[in-house]
Subunit: 699 residues, 2 copies
């Protein structure tokens, strides 16, 4: 793991481009370093001035009396790389490059950025940027940034790929009750990536939660596995803007058409255990909750409110998020009966009524938190004439302190709650204005607890009964013939080599061979013209089903070859394929579409001719695929209802389908040259399955 400790906790910082001219970036940064509490040595570097803002200035980094732990660079872009080289020679290990004019401007800038990356690698320097607005650490404290406000202290680490939005958030945080451990402006992330930073932050004791605004994900050979190591320890919440174009690439296959443009990111995040949000509001609402709350151990939520309407809205939201409305046990009921007057409600959501005094809130919340059935609590206050906002806040803080359970406040109003909100947030209780938000963030808290319980096995990696060489040979032959699409018989051979149950297809190049192959299979068989160039095989008389004898097969061979010749005199077919006719079963589809960033994505769903109409399909990345994820993938489709036995019909062999998914994941990971794979349908029987139509395309 990249050691970024001295990046954020340096004992000494040099600012290259330090300036005495107010308003200049080099001025602001030195000013921030001096005034925002940094306790170590600050070294302004400037070729002209001897003193910068009262500090002794140096002409070069290499003139310094010590190797600085961190160097900030804000000089014209053409001068940056020589400085990085100098720093490297001098032994600097951490740099933040503020200067813009690199990859983002194209042309020269791209080359300049490549050189910067090379220098970083050569000298082992961690480089944040270029085109970064800098970094802050409120615990060090360190404001090595462009931001004129030092962000409020807290335990949220915020990584932003947009500098302007980082500044916006810092300003907004002042009124939102959000506090930060570190803020990092990624810039072009030429050196240190968001993935390295997230990994580093997962070990940072001052950070409880990592929230990210990202416009791209850095290519990483094993994104999912890397982030899993983090996400089971610490919540990571990502707002990823922009859509991936990868999914659309292979739209010619069924699977490709089904994969939406954004599905690869969605799937990758889900399998990594990080949370994806879709709006800025959500990013910070959820971040705030994780920064304050202990984690729940389940999804049982209780609600206390002084307005019935708020209770109803909460329950509506709970249903949207699939949370459980606790039913209180007798002991809790008895305590609540003591606390709440009869006209109220002691059934969850608890209605303490509009005239509720502080003591009624306090007794109710203690009764509820004391129950083992309750995993978390939302307490809502409407500013009725008798509501004592501050008193209730104090009661909440006191009451909640005795329990290691998340308590979330909804203070529905404005100025009345200003002080109460401060008190609550300072004491580990996040507050929101509306009940729906509180319920939503509890869902995230509970989902993180579930992420921690995940079981990461590796059924694909454990597979060893596959014949890789056989497939290599087939592919070599296909490539040698300058084809990109496998014949049915070749695809069958590939399936066979990887243990995927399929209906046998063999290629016959003579009538005699056709007869022989047909006899080796069980009758009836199908004969089909074999050529990747003839697309509408049925239309030209190239397919004949229900063949019952050796003799018939021999005859039909000649017939089909003649039909093909007549229709396409210019095409020389590979022969005629003989396929065993299978009993029909439940029709499913398993396919693969390859994402340029995350590799093979395996599709599972309802099969048959209506695949693209019904769109009953679910995707998982092959890399890192676990047994639980396959089960989840299957459960999220409607065809699973058929496999379980729909309305008294026979069920399908679910294990056989799982095996097919695992084997196709293995095959497509082993062979990056497979650009598309579609099996539709697979007939699933009560015992076993059979792939009917396998399409494999090579890149």
């Amino acid at each position: 793991m990249t050691d970024l400790n001295k990046m954020f906790n340096p004992d000494s910082v040099a600012i290259v481009g330090a300036s005495n001219s107010e308003g200049k970036v080099g001025y602001i940064i030195v000013n921030n370093m001096i005034n925002d509490g940094f306790k170590g040595n600050i070294y302004p570097i400037n070729p002209k001035d001897d003193e910068i803002q009262g500090l002794k200035a140096y002409k070069n980094v290499s003139d310094l009396p010590e190797v600085p732990d961190l160097v900030i660079v804000s000089i014209p872009s053409v001068l940056v790389n020589p400085v990085v080289e100098e720093c490297g020679e001098f032994g600097v290990k951490n740099m933040v490059v503020i200067t813009a004019g690199f990859k983002e401007i194209g042309g020269d800038g791209v080359e300049r950025e490549n050189q910067l990356v090379a220098l970083g690698e050569k000298y082992g320097i961690n480089i944040i940027g270029p085109n970064s607005l800098g970094i802050t650490d409120s615990h060090t404290p360190l404001n090595a940034s462009f931001s004129q406000i030092m962000p409020p202290e807290g335990n949220i680490a915020f990584i932003s790929q947009s500098g302007a939005m980082m500044v916006a958030i810092i300003d907004w945080s002042v009124t939102s009750g959000i506090g930060f451990s570190k803020i990092i402006s990624l810039g072009n992330k030429a050196g240190t990536t968001e993935i390295e930073l997230i990994e580093y932050l997962s070990y940072d004791d001052e950070t409880a939660v990592v929230i990210c605004y990202l416009e791209s994900i850095t290519e990483d050979d094993d994104f999912v596995r890397t982030l899993r190591k983090v996400s089971y320890k610490k919540p990571v919440i990502i707002l990823k803007s922009g859509s991936s174009s990868a999914g659309a690439e292979a739209a010619s296959s069924h699977t490709g058409a089904l994969a939406g443009s954004d599905i690869a990111f969605d799937t990758a995040f889900k399998q990594s255990g990080v949370f994806r949000v879709t709006t800025m509001d959500e990013l910070f609402d959820v971040g705030l909750a994780f920064s304050k709350c202990p984690l729940p151990t389940g999804r049982n939520l209780a609600i206390i409110t002084n307005a019935g309407g708020g209770g109803v809205l909460s329950v509506d939201a709970m249903e949207r998020y699939n949370l459980d409305l606790v039913k209180f046990d007798e002991k809790t009921n008895a305590r609540l009966k003591e606390a709440v007057p009869e006209e109220g409600s002691i059934k969850n959501p608890i209605d303490v009524l509009g005239d509720a005094p502080v003591i009624r809130y306090k007794e109710s919340l203690e009764a509820v938190l004391d129950s083992d059935d309750v995993d978390g609590l939302v307490v809502m206050v409407c500013p009725t004439a008798s509501a004592d906002a501050d008193g209730i806040a104090d009661a909440l803080v006191e009451g909640a302190s005795g329990f290691d359970k998340p308590v979330i406040a909804v203070n529905m109003g404005g100025p009345i709650f200003e002080n109460a909100n401060d008190v609550l947030r300072d004491n580990g209780i996040p507050t929101y204005v509306f009940p729906e938000t509180a319920v939503k963030v509890f869902d995230y808290l509970a989902r993180f607890a579930a992420v921690q319980d995940r079981n990461y096995d590796d059924p694909v990696g454990e597979l060893d009964d596959v014949d890789k060489e056989a497939v290599e040979e087939i592919f070599a032959k296909v490539k040698a013939e300058e084809r990109d699409t496998l014949l049915g018989s070749e695809a069958y051979a590939v399936a066979e080599a990887y243990g995927i149950e399929a209906a046998p297809i063999k290629l016959a190049t003579s009538a005699e061979e056709a007869g022989q192959l047909a006899e080796e299979m069980e009758f009836p068989v199908v004969l089909k013209i074999a050529s990747d160039k003839i697309l509408h095989k049925s239309d030209i008389g190239g397919v004949k089903v229900g063949i019952q004898s050796k003799e018939e097969a021999e005859e039909v061979f000649e017939e089909i070859m003649a039909n093909a010749k007549k229709a396409h005199p210019d095409i020389v077919p590979n022969g005629v394929e003989v396929q065993k006719m299978m009993d029909s079963g439940i029709e499913v589809l398993v396919g693969m579409v390859r994402d340029s960033q995350f590799g093979p994505m395996i599709a599972f769903g309802m099969g048959g001719v209506l695949v693209n109409l019904l769109e009953d399909v679910s995707f998982k990345l092959a890399k890192g695929l676990t047994t639980d994820e396959i089960a989840e993938q299957m459960e999220s489709t409607k065809v699973m209802g058929l496999l379980k036995g729909f309305r008294g019909e026979a069920p399908g062999d679910i294990e056989a389908v799982k095996s097919a998914i695992i084997r196709i994941a293995k095959l497509t990971l082993d062979f990056p040259e497979i650009s598309e794979l579609d099996i539709n349908p697979i007939f699933v029987y009560e015992k076993g399955s059979s792939a009917l139509d396998i399409k494999i395309k090579l890149a």
Copy 2:
């Protein structure tokens, strides 16, 4: 329409239960009336004191020198009805009953509320409440409420079924930039309903948008048609809680109101042209937009931003809301090229860069608004070092004022924008913190423009070729036989009477008749035992398909009757039904479920045995159903893809399906005793259709 003018603009107001004791409701209301600017006469009514808060008090309403335009009642519940009676005799026409202790407490309270309603009807009094927190009108001005804060003035009318949440919103509005024309606490809405209020507000010049928090919808004979009259004039936004079954429970325990099933509400709101939102945030975000903006004429949105990231987030949100990212024409491009430096982007979203001065914003926004292709504009400002928040706000106000198009500001930050936000909101530009919200509210603005363009015809009402008497006769017979389920032959006769194309089914009570009926149809036919008591007809040998001749039909009749007798010696079947076997077609389902509040809901979707697995179905209320809505209903299903001709297959007769929907709507509206109706499948052919299996159940 109910005349509520003097309710909100009274010249004189009496407060029954007026008090000199601080903290009492009767004190607060008089205090609010005096201090929040009411200009008419205020008459405190109190049996004991001669003076209340400096005003002459009267013992009874009937002692007053004039008939007050409005009477507020806040006295013990048992005393309320006598006062209402007194008011009625005296000629009072508008009352607000603050007092609680009516339907919501059950028992006596229910009876008390019934009496109150009866008195209101007897004397023609508009009664808001009981159990209301009162009403406010910031233009009159009138604070006839419990709220200690007079809500800020504006043009949003807010109707709330929860008093506590009303108070919360008033407090919150102080910081949110929201202003109100009227705020109405509905209470138990025993008298004046939310529907009457919405209708009244649609004519109120001081109200630009009506927003409602509702826990139930008052039963109204023609909800959809009533609200349509409003919603094409003025936007109505409703947060209806209690959508979940669990939420509905809480709602009934709280207000005593009956919450309907959620799909009925969804459908009713959609067909009414009102907007349903799911969270409080959304209710006010959208309300703010309508209160400030002119309406767009289309869905083409332009974005100007000084942070690339914000542009990307906006575009992501636009994709979610199906909005169109305008491509600028050459003229606009040329103007933008002048305004924006090369490193920026003049392609939508326009990136004016982090260093954008005010003039760059101003020129860009004028160029964009001047283009006829642009229906609306979102302008985003991140507080970069060079961003002049106030200057940009002024430029926005000035620039936008020349165009009748919605301009929405995103000021991403906190304190820096405090003044700018005030300036913008005061000048018709709503402001939000995050870009996603701005995009979302524009979607609502554009959707309202579409609501105004709706075409409300009445294809169901225009239908006149139906034979109602024939159906009455059939139902009478079924009821006489004490059955609730129609036989197939009866259901066919009903379909025939209403012009629904169906496969003929006739009942034979003898072998001879069976043969004759079969011959009258075309062969082949099916014979099926006719009895509503025999459920699994095939299992007992009660069904025989593919019958090809008269003789065969006669034989099979006897065979089926014998099988039935053997299996169920105690059941006397009605006979054997003869049905014509139809060619198969595209299978669709048309059905009806009856909502207790909104009447028949017509379902359309994919038919066949997998109906409940695929859940490809869409609902519309039969009442007020329009041609466009039927088209919309069909378009929202996947089976529509089959009807349009899927992958080269023959299309289905869409007009035939529409006709079936209209006729089933008519049938189920004409006969409220039909509790359930299911036709699955209807075979749809290239020309025409045929209902195969029609199930009709009577209540």
